[in-house]
């Protein structure tokens, strides 16, 4: 057992680079959950995240990894005999995961007053963008896209994806800045009932000819 210890001494941001050159699984036991999470590593990349005997799909794997990166306690050990998955390797570069996590923590603190309210509805922006999103954004966007095609609130999307509301708000805010999504305005012009339209047209005429 070449590497072992407690996250209280070695947070995962410090630990991952230490084992990144190895092949095997970094196993972390979280006492309060009573579970062991396994991070499969090969050639400086995370190949898979396994929990309760199952490899997780990318969005859930990313969420578990983020959760582990935040942990300040939990026993860990490296198992060099654990074989990374032979197919569907996530191929997430270790250094990229750590950098993005650090950036997200900084951004979350910095942008907390800029983030949309949980009730704000978003949809895909009209013109699709062609440039590459960062890893975490890309994983989120791929999973959120079907819901955003229909339009969804921040909190509904958080529920659908099993993520926290602040996390989803931060992703949507960044996707908004990047032009991938936009708030879906509720007003759809103009289908007023005939009577309303008539009143509004009269108001328009009265205003247009009158400087008040």
């Amino acid at each position: 057992m070449p590497v072992f210890g407690d996250l209280s001494d070695f947070p995962l941001t410090e630990l991952l680079p230490v084992v990144a050159f190895r092949t095997g699984a970094l196993k972390i036991a979280l006492e309060e959950q009573g579970t062991i999470s396994e991070i499969y590593i090969q050639n400086h990349t995370v190949c898979g995240i396994r929990k309760e005997g199952h490899y997780l799909e990318p969005l859930e794997a990313h969420q578990v990894l983020r959760d582990l990166l935040r942990r300040t306690s939990g026993l860990f050990w490296f198992d060099p005999d654990a074989e990374p998955p032979k197919t569907n390797c996530l191929s997430w570069p270790v250094h990229q995961i750590i950098l993005e996590f650090a950036e997200e923590q900084d951004e979350a603190a910095l942008l907390q007053h800029h983030l949309p309210t949980p009730e704000t509805t978003f949809e895909l922006a009209g013109e699709p963008r062609s440039y590459q999103l960062p890893l975490s954004q890309s994983i989120f966007f791929e999973k959120a896209r079907p819901h955003l095609e229909r339009g969804t609130t921040v909190e509904a999307l958080a529920t659908l994806l099993g993520l926290s509301v602040p996390h989803v708000a931060l992703h949507l805010h960044k996707l908004h800045l990047a032009g991938f999504v936009a708030p879906r305005r509720a007003f759809r012009p103009p289908t007023p009932a005939a009577g309303q339209s008539n009143v509004l047209a009269r108001l328009w005429r009265a205003l247009a000819r009158n400087r008040l």
Partner: protein, 188 residues
């Protein structure tokens, strides 16, 4: 909307000029609920419930409801917006610190209530002030949704009202020729 009565809501952060805007358009003395402010907000009083004014044109009564600016009164904004034909969302162009909260609130309101809106950038007479174009860029809104406004100018307030009606698609209705060029103005 109900018969010949229409409701216009004027909202936005503290100090944006909502009470002034209502007063500029209203034909009647504005009913307000100002109280002495317990916070440092750059003025001695603030609206705690609503401002109310009314404008009558061609027999149509336009009720003007100004909302309180503090985000903690946001529940009142929801109630006031029900059935409104337009939302005027004012931000003070010389107070960019209020923009993040303003954008949060505007996005919330306009994605939850089917109401056309104009963002009015007030204090345009000051030297250090964000332009309508800059505010539109920050709010990520198309240019027609953002106008520079002097809230003390009845003419400017009228332009905002006209712009909201343009979003309803009634702007093409026949206008007397001698005034048509004036009504077509949409920017400052």
């Amino acid at each position: 909307m109900n018969g010949e009565r229409l409701k216009l809501v004027i909202s936005g952060p503290v100090g944006a000029g909502k009470t002034t805007f209502v007063a500029s358009l209203s034909d009647i003395p504005v009913v307000n609920t100002d109280e002495v402010s317990s916070e440092l907000i750059g003025k001695s009083t603030t609206t705690v419930a609503l401002d109310f004014g009314a404008l009558t044109l061609d027999g149509i009564q336009v009720y003007l409801f100004g909302t309180p600016g503090q985000e903690r009164f946001a529940f009142a904004w929801d109630t006031l917006l029900e059935g409104a034909f337009g939302l005027v969302f004012l931000v003070a162009g010389n107070q960019p610190a209020t923009f993040p909260t303003a954008r949060r609130m505007l996005d919330y309101l306009t994605t939850n209530f089917p109401v056309p809106f104009v963002v009015g950038v007030t204090r345009k007479d000051l030297a250090q002030v964000w332009s309508a174009e800059e505010v539109a860029s920050y709010f990520r809104l198309p240019a027609p949704h953002v106008l520079a406004v002097n809230a003390t100018s009845r003419e400017d307030c009228r332009e905002v009202l006209l712009q909201i009606l343009r979003f309803w698609g009634v702007a093409g209705t026949k206008i007397p020729p001698e005034k048509a060029e004036h009504a077509g103005t949409s920017s400052h």
